[in-house]
């Protein structure tokens, strides 16, 4: 009888014990190798964004993260990853962003990058995030990492209280639910309370321990690989770096890639996304404004995360294809007002390194398609990155931030009447 029962349940029990060991035993599974990190730097795999182990390993090597969204997948020869490879930058870009990632997702992401402390980062801002309704709940939920969430909850005992409260509230409002105990802990943080010692114990020892093991085990296996695309892109660049020459080359290459339309939109994108229904976009952006948005508060949460870790950040304001702007009837004031507001939020708190590509003298072929930078846009950014990437340590002089929690309020989200 006993033998029969063992034959039935034995394999299941063995499997369960093996699983428990795999997930909770304090074993450090060393799966992240330098080759993996190199692949992860351009892979744009969601697991890299949502995980922690690969990014923390990258911070120990010569990588500086570029945090952004969909533009990062526009890998033409002038993409920073391609340029860094061709011209042997001392530090290489580590790309973090996908279509749909905006400030709050990146705030969680930066919050989870423990080894970013005291280092540099680049942040690409898209005006399109700053819509009236802000980030879409579905997109945020998709990119929300349970691992980073547990990290945020555990870190809530230090750092800025107003920011922790704000983020917890926002996560709850966007409809995230990752387990009863995590939900209750978030609830407490959103009320400005400390989490209970049981919550701390459970989230640290049970949830997070298992998530960390999972991240170690599965966070970097069979990732997307873009290395070939980068190799091909960088092979098209001349051997010597000469900005003027490259600038001409970028314009020329872009022109060859956008022959199907007069809007300087890449053929591929144009044929796939626009050709059939382009007419439906004509003059549809006449009343677009990017100055009233909860995204400003989310963005502030991200700034807090940078400030807490004393990260030196270069902010890049992404350009919009000027021909597309004209076609959709977007008033220029939409862009300039956004610029003024976001720069005010940055500068008044001590974030002074801003590369504004939204208003340049010659905006021809600055974008790859409609709203994503590319070609000359990348080159202009690269020109600034070149020096910035010489050293990955933050200069303490540049991280003297003066954070103001007014920027977390509804009032600021809708404020257009501020002094410069």
């Amino acid at each position: 009888m006993k033998k029969k029962l063992w034959m039935i349940f034995g394999p299941v029990i063995v499997a369960i014990v093996a699983l428990l060991i795999l997930l909770w035993a304090p074993i450090n599974f060393k799966t992240v190798t330098p080759t993996k990190v190199q692949q992860a730097a351009t892979s744009l795999d969601v697991r890299v964004l949502k995980g922690e182990s690969v990014k923390n390993a990258a911070e120990k090597e010569n990588y500086i993260p570029i945090i952004g969204s969909s533009e990062l997948s526009r890998m033409d020869p002038f993409h920073p990853s391609s340029m860094a490879q061709k011209y042997h930058w001392k530090n290489k870009p580590f790309l973090l962003g996908n279509p749909g990632t905006a400030s709050l997702t990146q705030a969680m992401n930066v919050g989870g990058m423990a080894n970013l402390k005291g280092n540099k980062a680049v942040m690409i801002i898209s005006p399109q995030w700053f819509t009236k309704s802000g980030v879409q709940a579905e997109a945020f939920k998709y990119f929300l990492s349970p691992l980073q969430l547990t990290g945020f909850i555990l870190n809530s005992d230090h750092g800025d209280k107003a920011m922790n409260k704000y983020v917890a509230n926002r996560i709850i409002d966007l409809g995230v639910s990752k387990g009863v105990i995590e939900d209750n802990a978030l609830e407490r943080i959103s009320e400005g309370k400390q989490i209970t010692s049981f919550q701390r114990f459970y989230i640290k020892r049970v949830s997070r321990a298992s998530l960390q093991s999972q991240d170690n085990l599965f966070g970097s296996i069979s990732m997307n690989n873009h290395q070939k695309i980068i190799d091909k892109a960088s092979s098209k660049l001349p051997d010597t770096y000469d900005y003027k020459h490259l600038n001409k080359l970028a314009g020329k290459m872009a022109k060859e890639h956008s022959t199907d339309n007069e809007l300087q939109i890449g053929n591929n994108f144009y044929n796939k996304q626009l050709k059939k229904n382009i007419i439906t976009y004509r003059n549809t952006h006449k009343h677009v404004t990017y100055t009233h948005s909860p995204e400003y508060n989310d963005f502030q949460a991200l700034l807090y995360m940078f400030a807490q870790n004393k990260v030196e950040v270069m902010f890049v304001i992404q350009p919009i294809n000027p021909y597309w702007v004209k076609y959709t009837g977007m008033p220029l004031s939409s862009i300039t007002n956004f610029d003024t507001k976001i720069k005010y939020q940055l500068k008044s708190q001590g974030f002074n390194n801003i590369v504004d590509l939204s208003q340049v003298k010659n905006p021809n072929y600055i974008a790859e398609d409609t709203i994503h930078m590319g070609w000359r846009g990348w080159l202009m950014m690269d020109h600034r990155l070149k020096n910035y990437y010489k050293d990955k340590k933050a200069n303490p002089k540049n991280t003297q931030y003066k954070m103001d929690d007014y920027f977390l309020t509804d009032k600021w989200a809708n404020d257009t009447n501020f002094s410069n």
Partner: protein, 403 residues
């Protein structure tokens, strides 16, 4: 609290097995705890239907009460009389709630489906079976408690397999012997593990990882050829078919496994359907409890009625008409959209063609070769025809052409 869909996440099994433990211990010692069974059923029903705004739970209660009225109304009538008209009326009454729910999407007025809850189809199949077997005289007596226990047997409540009342009674009226129960535990553990592999690993790969990708690719290249066709549509067809099978077969294995732990031999739903040699063989292996239900309670009965009343003389024609009726009803049951109806008609035509081919083959047995290669070809052909029918069923063509 939200409704917890049974078997939808691995966590569910941990809670479920804890709930089952007293039942398992009882059966080990040859005992059934009626009251605990009842309690466990209530717990599962509450978590599955009474989360959120409770509308599903209220519908379930209303539905069960209504079906009780129908079934016991007919039982008391059947004891004295046996008219075909009254019988038909009661069958119709038994399916009225389901008709309401199924008509909803057509009418654009969601309030009409008073009875909408997950699993209403499967409970209706069970109720109709009871009414029909009462008419046949094989179910003579049934207590309200027994009816409810059969209808609300929780391992199978949301999506089958569809058990039969008399078979079910045989299991629950007695506790299995120790040997029998050990065998049930073995079968239960195997099926549970196989189900986990099917639903949470293979089904996940096809449904969650691959399906969205091929969908996007197929939609992106729909401008390239007439009817939006591209190789990605073909890829979609296979990926969707695999997803459909592994997800549903996985679920069915869970339901049978949990039944086994409770000492009930719920019938299996799938028997290696992609190994079928022809379409008839396929329907004897795919969603078996549903196809057997349709066979016994629609196809056979219609065939007998036609023969009895001599409406049609030709045997082949009788079979063909009944196939059409069966698959059209099955299509309509799936939902009131063109693709479910076309799916039904497609399978009816496939069955008719298949029968014709089998007749032809019987007549020309000598001329038609039959060996390993023809058999492999038959399996390949059947598999592709079935996958094509699932492409219709998936509704993807609707998205591809009309959105």
């Amino acid at each position: 609290m939200h409704n917890i869909t049974p078997y939808s996440s691995p966590h569910y099994f941990i809670y479920l097995l804890i709930l089952l433990l007293p039942i398992i211990i009882g059966l080990w010692f040859g005992k059934r705890f009626k009251i605990y069974d009842f309690f466990a059923t209530i717990v599962i029903l509450i978590t599955a239907f009474f989360g959120g705004n409770m509308s599903q739970g209220i519908s379930l209660i209303a539905y069960v009460l209504f079906e009780m009225l129908v079934v016991f109304g007919y039982l008391s009538y059947r004891k004295k009389h046996n008219s075909f008209g009254i019988f038909s009326l009661f069958v119709f009454l038994a399916i009225v709630p389901l008709i309401f729910v199924k008509l909803d999407p057509l009418i654009n007025n969601p309030t009409i489906s008073l009875f909408a809850f997950m699993g209403i189809s499967y409970l209706t199949f069970k109720s109709v079976e009871i009414v029909m077997e009462m008419r046949d005289g094989v179910i003579k007596e049934i207590k309200p408690f027994e009816f409810m226990r059969f209808l609300l047997f929780f391992p199978t409540i949301t999506s089958g397999p569809i058990d039969r009342f008399r078979r079910f009674q045989k299991d629950v009226l007695n506790a299995p012997s120790r040997e029998e129960y050990i065998e049930l535990l073995r079968s239960g553990v195997n099926k549970l593990m196989q189900g986990l592999l099917y639903k949470f690993i293979i089904g996940y790969i096809f449904g969650t990882l691959l399906l969205p990708r091929v969908t996007v690719m197929a939609m992106a290249s729909r401008g390239q050829a007439p009817l939006g066709l591209s190789w990605y549509v073909l890829a979609y067809m296979y990926v969707y078919s695999m997803y459909l099978f592994f997800d549903f077969a996985g679920y069915s294995l869970f339901a049978v496994a949990i039944s086994n732990f409770m000492g009930v031999k719920t019938p299996m739903n799938f028997n290696a359907p992609f190994k079928s040699k022809n379409i008839k063989d396929f329907w004897n292996r795919w969603h078996m409890t549903l196809s057997f239900w349709f066979r016994d309670f629609i196809y056979m009965r219609l065939t007998f009625t036609i023969i009895k009343h001599k409406w049609i003389k030709n045997r082949v024609a009788i079979a063909n008409v009944s196939y059409f009726a069966l698959f059209l009803i099955m299509g309509i049951w799936h939902g009131e959209t063109w693709y479910y109806i076309v799916y039904g008609i497609f399978h009816a035509l496939a069955m008719i063609t298949n029968d014709a081919w089998l007749r032809y083959k019987r007549k020309h047995r000598k001329q038609i070769p039959s060996n390993k290669f023809t058999e492999a070809f038959a399996i390949f052909l059947t598999f592709n025809i079935v996958c094509f029918s699932f492409l219709i069923f998936s509704g993807f063509l609707n998205t591809l052409w009309f959105s």
